[in-house]
Symmetry: C2
Subunit: 211 residues, 2 copies
DNA sequence: GTCTATATGAGGATAGAC
DNA sequence: GTCTATCCTCATATAGAC
């Protein structure tokens, strides 16, 4: 029994080690660029163990996305308004490039690779990313909706949707900038972005009031 | 001579056919996903010919980017202001997803794949894309600069830089949306985007006038 | 559960006849 | 310049001892 216990007790730790390993490689090299041999080497385990814990590469990435998203959710304090939201996500674009080992920061950057690789069309990990992307969008939309007081529901809904679309485009765009190595002060542009969207909301609300 | 001419005369056409082939594959599958065998098959030429015309896959993509960029430049009428610029680039994001064979529309979408694949760090095609990306940014910045009248040079320069950064983020962001398959009305958001940035410029200029 | 050896297949690239 | 056959490398995945 002692022998057997020793062989089995490392299991949870090993799985975690493998996920950390694939994370560090994935941020660096993307999906195609990350090899199972790499993962094994970085995790310190033989490749056989990797396949014992995960069915295949595809499934490994599905669980990586779940893992990252979980950490991201836990580590992200609830935000109150659009400005705070934009600041968090855009500043974090820079962080994701700098601190490659932070799952929470890495999640969205890894995801974008899946958005662009159409070859991965029916890859489960890609679908997982798109699913989380949608979920995220819905949650942002309903958050924003609560911030517009004193306007009819349908107006608030449309406004929230528009701001969510533009906020998403902007945060994705700055992630591209980070990936392309553009020399950008993300804090500064997080503020400018918030200014721009807020003034857009203001003029829309004003327009509505005049009707 | 007749024999020899026949063997040689197809050369220019073949090269072009190969570029068209790699374009159609690249938009679909990205860099890694495009195989030399694919390219040969689609172009209708044997793989040996592909390697006769191009040194290797890397060089093939370098010339593809040059080719696309050239077509893009020729087919793009000079724009007069930010609104027109945003409309052109953002609406074209949708076009790039729809009309995969249009080199002009495809250029920026293919480029983004290179931005994200860090594995391709010293890939010449990636560097070519980043080079054109920088060139594009400079040209947009100087265009915008001419649209701010009656303000000191340094203010206009800063404003133009900021707008170019945000415009780039927005267009990249909407390209991501197109790649991720988000259900987005690009025409509508091109307008909203222009509204947002214009109101930001207005408030900045007003701020300056008060000093 | 861990680890080694290896099967299998795909893709980039070349040789050399025509 | 075109085309075929083939080499070589590398990555996913499995078999099977421990």
């Amino acid at each position: 029994m002692t022998e057997k216990r020793k062989a089995h007790q490392a299991s949870a730790g090993s799985k975690r080690a493998i996920l950390e390993a694939v994370l560090s490689r994935a941020v660096e090299a993307g999906y195609e660029g990350t090899t199972m041999a790499d993962v094994a080497r970085v995790s310190g385990l033989p490749i056989g163990s990797v396949y014992w814990h995960f069915k295949n590469k595809e499934q490994l990435f599905v669980e990586l996305l779940d893992y990252c998203y979980e950490v991201w959710q836990e580590s992200t304090a609830p935000v109150r308004d659009m400005r705070e939201l934009l600041h968090n996500t855009i500043s974090r674009s820079a962080a994701a490039s700098a601190d490659l080992a932070d799952p929470a920061a890495a999640f969205w950057s890894i995801g974008l690779v899946f958005a662009f690789e159409r070859r991965l069309e029916d890859n489960l990990a890609r679908q997982r990313y798109l699913e989380i992307r949608r979920k995220m969008f819905e949650s942002v939309t309903s958050l924003l909706r609560t911030t517009y007081d004193g306007v009819p529901d349908d107006v608030a809904a449309e406004l929230a949707h528009d701001m969510a679309v533009m906020g998403r485009a902007l945060t994705d765009g700055f992630r591209v900038a980070a990936a392309a190595g553009d020399d950008t002060d993300f804090d500064r542009y997080a503020s400018l972005t918030a200014d721009a969207l807020e003034s857009l909301v203001a003029s829309r609300l004003k327009e509505y009031a005049h009707v």
